[in-house]
């Protein structure tokens, strides 16, 4: 019994699979780049982390 991976059928499927693989890899890279751009361009965000953050507390008006 022999198995010939270099058969034309495999070659052809390899090119197709390689094409799909590279396309998916490019898609992942694009989504990552897009995410970085969106996050960087978004307004500064601050989540509540159970720590007092003086910068988040509204300033009281000082009476003259």
């Amino acid at each position: 019994m022999s198995f010939r991976p270099e058969h034309e059928l495999h070659k052809r499927r390899f090119s197709r699979n390689l094409g799909v693989g590279l396309t998916l890899a490019a898609f992942v890279a694009l989504v990552f780049a897009l995410t970085v751009v969106k996050v960087k361009r978004g307004d500064p965000m601050q989540g509540y982390d159970h720590v007092v953050q003086p910068s988040s507390v509204p300033k009281e008006e000082v009476q003259p």
């Binding site: 022999s2 059928l9 694009l30 897009l34």
Partner: protein
């Protein structure tokens, strides 16, 4: 049957589609026009996007156009098989199964719309979804085989990309976006009817009710002239809006003069004259129509570039 013989039996498989066959489903040549016009629509808009957003927007608009091309090939495989111009497409040539074309078309439609929405805004994604629907359902499934006005109304599908580009940048439609849409919309009928004049046998054999088949060539020549004249105010109008300027106006005047003269020349010819020179004028008009659209959008882009350095614009 041993594994070896089973494997050898597989060699009898008639054809194993390659990656390129699936790419052909997306009509790459049509996509190039979509990419160019959408890019212009996006870059001449008054709001600028990050280069990654621009790239993503154009990619997903092109992918949406490709998806509608695949769905068109799935639906039109029967008539594509008859026409010489389309017989070598992957589905009629038997390289890709019709069901695969449907799956690729539906899958890419979903991906392109969702991703355009995430990359830019919901309005642009909605417009892309409508464009795909319009091209596949309204044009391919309904109008193409039922009315000689198929090209006129179906042309709207090809006219949407610059508007989608504009909406991707600004989030809304404006008179400039509408005029870029109208420019391609009014340009499409003379462009395709000129093609139909010298490819008549194809459409006739497939039973597609092109104007040349239903109303004859003399009427088609008159229609080409009418639409070419109607195109002039649209082109000149676009040149005097925010996306235009002296350069755009000059280009529009020259191109429209040439286009109208070409249309008048076609209108004055009859079949005897056309047969005598193997449709030279019709072919020249068709080639000029491609240049016409390319130079119009190139002028918008050049005007935007000039504006960015303090020149150009009104």
């Amino acid at each position: 049957m041993s594994e070896t013989s089973a494997y050898q039996g597989a060699t009898a498989t008639p054809y194993e589609p390659g990656f390129g066959d699936y790419v052909q489903l997306l009509k790459p040549r049509v996509m190039s026009l979509v990419v160019f016009t959408a890019l212009v629509g996006l870059l001449v808009a008054p709001v600028s996007l990050h280069p990654v957003e621009v790239f993503s927007a154009i990619l997903f608009i092109a992918l949406g156009a490709g998806a509608s091309g695949a769905l068109n090939m799935w639906w039109d495989a029967d008539i594509d098989r008859v026409m010489k111009r389309t017989a070598k497409r992957p589905v009629p040539a038997g390289r890709v199964q019709a069901g695969e074309a449907l799956a690729v078309g539906l899958g890419l439609s979903g991906i392109s719309v969702v991703m355009l929405g995430l990359a830019t805004n919901v309005a642009a994604a909605g417009l892309l979804a409508f464009t795909i629907f319009f091209y596949v359902v309204v044009y391919s499934m309904w109008l193409k085989r039922s009315t000689p006005q198929n090209i006129v109304i179906g042309g709207a599908a090809g006219a949407f990309p610059p508007m989608i580009g504009w909406v991707a940048a600004t989030g809304s439609v404006s008179v400039e976006a509408f005029l870029m849409f109208a420019l391609i919309f009014m340009w499409t009928p003379p462009h395709f009817w000129a093609l139909a004049l010298f490819m008549k046998e194809d459409y006739h054999a497939a039973g597609v009710p092109m104007l040349t088949v239903t109303h004859g060539r003399k009427a088609t020549r008159a229609h080409i002239l009418a639409y070419t004249i109607l195109l002039v105010p649209v082109a000149l109008g676009a040149a005097v809006t925010q996306i235009g300027g002296p350069l755009t106006l000059a280009v529009a005047v020259v191109l429209n003069a040439g286009f109208v003269l070409g249309a008048v020349r076609l209108w004055r010819r009859d079949e005897v004259m056309a047969e005598a020179d193997n449709y030279a004028a019709e072919k020249a008009f068709f080639r000029f129509s491609l240049l016409y659209l390319f130079l119009h959008f190139a002028a918008f882009l050049a005007e935007a570039a000039l504006k960015s350095v303090g020149l150009g614009g009104w």
